[in-house]
């Protein structure tokens, strides 16, 4: 069950749009910086294939300029 965190960089002026787009994905938790054009994205998925599919969806978001992974964890299914 992968848990990953990313720094998500929006295109100029598209921060709110990116927050909205990510927030509708139920595997995503978004924490925007208050004073910078960047937000933290934490994803939690059931397995690697779901993770890959989610990542494709995220990378297709037009307001996203760059997604940089910070940390990734795998936890046992029974947790």
């Amino acid at each position: 069950m992968p848990i990953k965190s990313y720094l998500a960089h929006p295109h100029t002026g598209k921060k709110n749009e990116l927050i909205k787009a990510l927030s509708v994905l139920h595997q995503c938790e978004v924490t925007p910086a208050q004073n910078k054009e960047v937000l933290i994205l934490v994803t939690e998925t059931e397995n690697e294939s779901e993770e890959e599919s989610l990542k494709e969806k995220i990378e297709a978001i037009e307001s996203l300029k760059l997604l940089a992974m910070v940390s990734g964890f795998n936890t046992p299914q029974n947790n």
């Binding site: 069950m1 848990i3 990953k4 965190s5 990313y6 720094l7 938790e29 924490t31 925007p32 910086a33 208050q34 004073n35 910078k36 960047v38 933290i40 994205l41 934490v42 939690e44 910070v70 940390s71 990734g72 964890f73 936890t75 947790n79």
Partner: protein, 775 residues
């Protein structure tokens, strides 16, 4: 901002989030995640929010700590604090997490037959008091010493001073602020006759230029840097970074200017040369408000034990000073400072432009300097020559490193030469202290004894036979620990260490006392802008943990000084503060009453007629000005500040054929000083688990060193092995390496040099010569 961790997944999610926050903080100086704090609070939590200053740096951000059922559940920035306006840095967010560390010191430990034995606190305090008394009886009062901290609260510092100077009658009290702020103090006293900055953080909202002198504010004072960046973006204010190493601050600044270590002295003089040569002197300000002086030169570097130095100031005139500066033309200085003529002239033109407001900021780069007092004087010269001082947006501003380096170390005076008001050398000051302390005036010695470095040399020599350290970790933070660790291990000295966590210093203690952490006690701190802040105890500490002030009082009582310490355990903080306030009565340093401090998120002194004084020495803002002029530097008897003639002199040790690199040491955003707290906060430790040695890429290539490879760094004093870091956090200039000092497993201070400024006695951690080799 953290929740009760109910399962491994929620813990991992939190770690992932915090890792990202920490990564973001290192990439984007001043980044804030305020909304996250609220989201981190558990649903349905019924939190009791109480205010406090942050436990860590000298900025003094206001925090709100949310407690529930006796536990600290959340921390957020205090929106009512004028310092941080609700913002916090990564250390601030996570600070209370260290309380839960499993290796917390919860009970007193007494070494018996080489083993630490858990001992009731009352018995341990008996041992400490008896040992102190016995040492005084056998060897005299100057055989005992206390070494405290810029992280001690105001009451803790006050009772330590009263015990040592007023009760026992020795000046063997110094503190770790000697290692970080003493040059700032000496600079203020020699130039203005009064310690601490004249301005305040509100200067940030008014300045057109911020010039940072050897100061990586993005990592060390991130909330202030964030406020500067906001002004950069909102008003076009400019940040100029003047440093020996490219840092996060440099890359976020408008311009980065690098200089050869130690040559800041020459560049500051060159700026003054340019100001005079171009006719940018504020003539009427200088004529009305300034004197010119010079002092002794070739003072040495304090490398030998029992080194003594007393400056002999001599008045000079403007023409003498102008003549002296002819050695510091930009063309001459550029040759050895490696700062271009163009850049020197650029800096001078900023200071010289009468239509631009300029604030200079500095911290350890200028203070930890073998000519630290001089470089402080020289930056004041620039502001005095141009009259850019004591006005909103115009002024020199020395930042502090610790949360109460100002409030406790400097204002209470936990240095060997200091008293709560003034210095031990001054009879009037001794008489005031004796009156308030109700002790015979003759008991307070008129001569200072040991400053920090000399105190630990005296331990090593066997002259000090009992030492009690509180809230500090000298065996990681002193320079040249390769000498002072074996010194402290000697049987000739009985060592008492009062701390919250085990450290390399507590490892050599004969008695370890379990101290209360920040919010487990009430207290007061004073930050860099003269702001005094009070907090109430919020949670109970574990086991027999006890506030340091109360442990000092208990020892004093056991030594027979109970009549001088008539405080109650419940209200000692309030009682001590009210006694201490008497020292500072009046318009020049009046402290706010405790009732006000309890209500407000800090109050700036002088507090006069119910108001903070934001800009001292300016008659428009400061009611203590009494000379009928616009400005009054009332710290000096004639009301005038001093422009000092101070030359460039080289560092005591420079790179040579055998030791070809400069070693510079410092801090990182994730860790607080020696890491004893922040290394116990999982997210901070994970983000920066160990120290490293930074190289310039060309040096690394020439040595065949790759990122992450182990490198041995060696000086004439010791060595240390660390992984190489190339093009990561910071970028040293060619011929320089940088190592952070937070990691007790990689003791870079075994390598550093214990040379110090002869006037301030503050060591220089920024410059010594080393060799490096791949291992």
């Amino acid at each position: 901002m953290y929740t009760a961790l109910t399962n491994r997944r929620s813990f991992i999610k939190k770690m992932a989030l915090l890792s990202a926050m920490t990564a973001a903080a290192t990439m984007f100086p001043g980044i804030i995640f305020a909304s996250e704090q609220e989201e981190g609070i558990p649903n349905g939590a019924n939190l009791d929010w109480k205010k406090a200053p942050c436990r860590f740096c000298g900025v003094g951000c206001g925090i709100l700590v949310g407690t529930e059922n006796g536990k600290a559940i959340a921390v957020k920035g205090d929106p009512n604090s004028a310092v941080n306006k609700g913002l916090l840095c990564v250390k601030g967010y996570h600070q209370t997490m260290c309380i839960q560390s499993k290796d917390r010191l919860t009970h007193a430990l007494v070494k018996k037959n080489g083993q630490y034995v858990k001992t009731p606190l009352n018995e341990a305090l008996d041992i400490v008091a008896n040992k102190m008394k016995e040492t005084i009886q056998k060897h005299g009062k100057d055989a005992v010493a206390m070494y405290t901290s810029g992280q001690s609260t105001i009451p803790e510092g006050y009772v330590a001073s009263k015990l040592m100077k007023g009760a026992i009658g020795t000046n063997n009290l110094d503190c770790n602020a000697r290692l970080c702020m003493a040059s700032a103090v000496a600079g203020f006293l020699t130039t203005f006759g009064a310690d601490e900055p004249m301005g305040c953080y509100e200067d940030i909202d008014h300045a057109d230029y911020f010039i940072t002198w050897g100061n990586n504010m993005a990592e060390m004072h991130p909330v202030l840097f964030s406020r500067m960046l906001e002004q950069k973006s909102r008003r076009g204010a400019k940040i100029i970074d003047f440093a020996t190493r490219t840092t996060r601050s440099s890359t976020a600044s408008d311009k980065s200017i690098l200089f050869e270590p130690q040559t800041d002295l020459a560049v500051a003089n060159a700026i003054c040369y340019e100001i005079i040569n171009n006719g940018w002197v504020n003539q009427s300000f200088v004529e009305k408000h300034c004197n010119f002086s010079k002092g002794l030169t070739n003072m040495g570097y304090g490398l030998e034990d029992n080194y003594k130095f007393n400056d002999k100031p001599q008045k000079i005139n403007f023409e003498d000073y102008k003549k002296f500066l002819e050695d510091y033309t930009p063309e001459k200085v550029a040759k050895y400072s490696k700062v271009s003529v163009k850049d020197i002239k650029y800096l001078a033109a900023i200071y010289g432009d009468p239509n631009k407001k300029v604030v200079s900021y500095w911290c350890m780069g200028m203070n930890q300097h073998t000519r630290g007092t001089w470089i402080n004087n020289l930056v004041y010269n620039i502001h005095l020559l141009t009259g850019k001082i004591s006005q909103p947006g115009n002024g020199p501003f020395s930042l502090t490193g610790q949360p109460s380096a100002c409030g406790t170390a400097r204002e209470v005076g936990t240095f060997t030469h200091k008293l709560p008001k003034g210095v031990v050398m001054n009879e009037k000051h001794r008489r005031l202290a004796a009156k308030i302390w109700k002790v015979p005036y003759e008991r307070i010695p008129a001569k200072p004894t040991y400053h920090a470095t000399e105190m630990f040399r005296a331990v090593d020599r066997g002259d000090i036979k009992f030492i009690w350290t509180q809230v500090t970790n000298p065996l990681v933070s002193l320079p040249k620990t390769s000498r002072y660790r074996p010194g402290m291990e000697k049987d000739s000295c009985f060592v008492v260490v009062s701390d919250v966590f085990p450290t390399p210093t507590s490892d050599v203690a004969d008695v370890i006392l379990p101290a209360s952490w920040h919010i487990e006690k009430s207290g007061l701190y004073g930050n860099s802008e003269r702001r005094t802040q009070h907090w109430d105890k919020m949670v109970e500490g574990p086991g027999e943990t006890t506030p340091d002030a109360w442990m000092t009082i208990e020892v004093a009582k056991r030594m027979g000084y109970g009549d001088l310490f008539p405080y109650s355990e419940e209200n000692h903080v309030e009682e001590i503060y009210n006694e201490y306030r008497q020292f500072h009565e009046g318009a020049k340093h009046g402290m706010a009453p405790l009732e006000v401090l309890k209500k407000e998120s800090g109050v700036i002194w002088p507090y006069v007629n119910g108001k903070s004084t934001q800009w001292r020495f300016n008659a428009k803002y400061d009611p203590a000005c009494s000379n009928g002029e616009d400005f009054h530097f009332y710290g000096k008897p004639d009301g005038k500040a001093v422009i000092w003639q101070r030359p460039y002199e080289p560092a005591p040790e420079s790179p040579d054929a055998a030791y070809p690199f400069w070693l510079n040491t410092g801090r990182v955003i994730e860790h607080w000083h020696t890491g004893s707290m922040t290394r116990r906060i999982p997210v901070l430790h994970k983000a920066m688990p160990s120290a490293y040695i930074e190289f310039h890429p060309e040096d690394a290539k020439a040595l065949g060193i790759k990122n992450g490879e182990n490198v041995k760094v060696t000086s004439r004093r010791g060595s240390c092995i660390l992984p190489a870091s190339i093009n990561e956090r910071g970028l040293p200039t060619k011929g320089q390496v940088f190592v952070p000092f937070f990691d007790e497993n990689m003791m870079i201070n075994d390598v550093t040099l214990d040379a110090f400024c002869p006037i301030s006695k503050e060591p220089d951690y920024k410059k010594c010569a080393v060799k490096v080799e791949k291992v």
